[in-house]
């Protein structure tokens, strides 16, 4: 099981969270008519063995979306920030 350090609540068990998928996926603009970009957005993923930026929703906690950087081979969590902020960059939205 994974221990996720929620930026608001501290270290919490993974079972408090719902997984939200790859955080690097960018939704195309609503008026973007290029099917390739929509295909990429909907279907294709890097699916890396190694570091992965992903979204988790703290459903049984602060109910915030957090962006977690986790190693998919070891499950080690490198850090978590409020979703929308790049991990480690520390900018405010």
């Amino acid at each position: 099981m994974i221990l996720i350090s929620c930026p608001w609540c501290g270290d919490r068990d993974q079972t408090e969270f719902a997984y939200g998928g790859d955080a690097t996926v960018q939704r195309p603009a609503p008026d973007d008519a290029d099917p390739t970009r929509w295909f990429d957005y909907v279907h294709t993923r890097d699916n890396p063995r190694g570091s992965h930026r992903e979204l988790w929703f703290h459903a049984f906690g602060c109910r915030q979306w957090v962006e977690v950087t986790r190693d998919t081979a070891t499950h080690a969590v490198a850090g978590a920030v409020l979703a929308g902020l790049r991990v480690g960059e520390g900018e405010t939205p």
Binding site: M1, I2, Q14, T15, A18, Y19, D22, P35, T36, F39, D40, V42, H43, T44, R45, D46, N47, P48, R49, H52, E54, R70, T72, A73, T74, H75
Partner: protein, 417 residues
């Protein structure tokens, strides 16, 4: 060497110490006509059919660890073909038909046991959708019959059909041709038969790179046991497909790898005579010939290559098992483990050519690949031999996602399959 009653008898007198190696362990040759990446059941089956049916015998199977050490050795060995959609029905029944004579074909006992697949419907909506499923199967010529709760319990004694449980059983479908097989024997049987036809099985041989020529076509691969030249590569690497295909420049695929767990109990006397599956409360269970209960759990949601999953996933499955079979509550679990499965969004596989000339792929089987072992191997071999998708595999191409032609077994099969 063929197995026969006489050879078994002769070796019985020498306490089975004198059996020869069942497949060769050669050094890699500098070049092959076809290289299959991944020495699981699927990859070895593809190599076998290339040699046996398509006359391509200068073939290597490269395997990072030992053959059958990945998902082939980590699944719950369920074989069935009662899928909802026509394309899937053709695909899985193609496989099931090969299963039925596989032991004879390979001269190796894969212990295929068509003991019946009982799929439980819980509540009114399940009964409706299962009825639709059943008629879809009937129209496709796939055997499937409806059992009332009482009939289901008669077929599988001990099943709790009480109205008082959280999700009462409203009936079940039964595919009598479905069942289980011995996972290791399938791998070893294909390896032995392929090796006898000249296929080189290269274990401890990890692919580190895929070489492409100026025209983009594959020219060979780099491995931990040296470079191998080849014009055709078939990738059958299950959960690691994304990692292998990235070496050929196909970085982003419609795949995500997740852990899938299973567990076995202590050995018990014969207790469960068929395979019982419940998609709704997520449990599947059968009993191995050794007597242990083989239980399949679900996938974790997150991307992982670690072959371990969360304990809450197995606990959830055991909750369901204990509700269906209350007399199993005090049975102890002996081992649990995880495998890495590559999931597509529609829970149907990807089988066919790729945009890279000479590179073919068989992946995306998600949680249901074991049943397809001989069929997928056969179709991958046919696709490699012809250079284009076999008609049964054609709907399962990598391009179906961009075209929007999904084969949505995700909705049909829920999770377990």
């Amino acid at each position: 060497m063929r197995f026969s009653f006489l050879s078994l008898l002769r070796n019985a007198f020498s306490a089975h110490r004198d059996w020869p190696e069942q497949w060769r362990s050669p050094e890699p040759k500098p070049a092959y006509d076809v290289v299959i990446v991944g020495g699981g059941g699927h990859g070895l089956a593809a190599a076998y059919f290339l040699a046996a049916e398509f006359g391509i015998r200068n073939v290597a199977v490269v395997e990072r660890g030992w053959i059958g050490g990945g998902n082939s050795g980590r699944n719950t060995t369920i074989v069935r073909s009662n899928y909802l959609l026509e394309d899937s029905e053709a695909l899985y029944d193609h496989s099931l038909k090969i299963w039925e004579n596989l032991s004879q074909t390979l001269n190796y006992n894969v212990m295929f046991s068509p003991r019946g697949i009982l799929m439980l419907a819980h509540g009114h909506h399940d009964v409706q959708s299962f009825t639709r499923h059943l008629h879809a199967n009937r129209l496709a010529g796939i055997d499937s019959e409806w059992l009332s709760p009482e009939e289901a319990r008669a077929f599988c004694p001990g099943l709790n059909i009480s109205k008082d449980i959280r999700y009462p059983i409203g009936g079940a479908t039964l595919q009598r041709r479905g069942g289980v097989a011995r996972h290791d024997a399938v791998v070893w049987g294909f390896a032995r038969a392929a090796s006898a036809l000249g296929v080189d099985i290269l274990q401890n041989c990890e692919v580190t790179g895929i070489r492409r020529g100026p025209d983009g076509a594959v020219t060979g691969l780099d491995t931990t046991r040296g470079a191998i030249a080849t014009r055709k590569i078939g990738v059958s690497a299950a959960g690691h497909t994304s990692v292998v295909l990235e070496m050929a420049g196909l970085g982003r695929l419609p795949l995500e790898s997740t852990p899938l767990q299973a567990l076995v109990s202590e050995p018990l006397k014969p207790l469960i005579s068929c395979v019982v599956m419940s998609n709704t409360i997520h449990a599947y269970i059968s009993q191995s010939d050794k007597g242990d209960l083989v239980i399949g759990a679900g996938t974790d949601q997150y991307v992982s290559y670690s072959q371990t999953g969360g304990l809450q996933i197995t606990a959830h499955t055991l909750d369901a098992i204990c509700e269906l079979f209350p007399h199993l509550r005090r049975v102890r679990m002996m081992r649990n483990w995880g495998g890495i499965v590559d999931n597509t969004v529609d829970r149907s596989p990807i089988l066919g050519p790729t945009p890279v000339p000479g590179l073919f792929v068989n992946c995306g089987w998600g949680t249901g690949g074991f049943k397809a072992t001989p069929g997928a191997g056969h179709l991958l071999a046919a696709t490699i031999a012809r250079g284009e998708a076999h008609p049964i595999a054609a709907p399962f191409g990598l391009d179906r996602f961009a075209r929007g032609r999904l084969i949505d077994e995700a909705a049909a099969a829920a999770v377990a399959h």
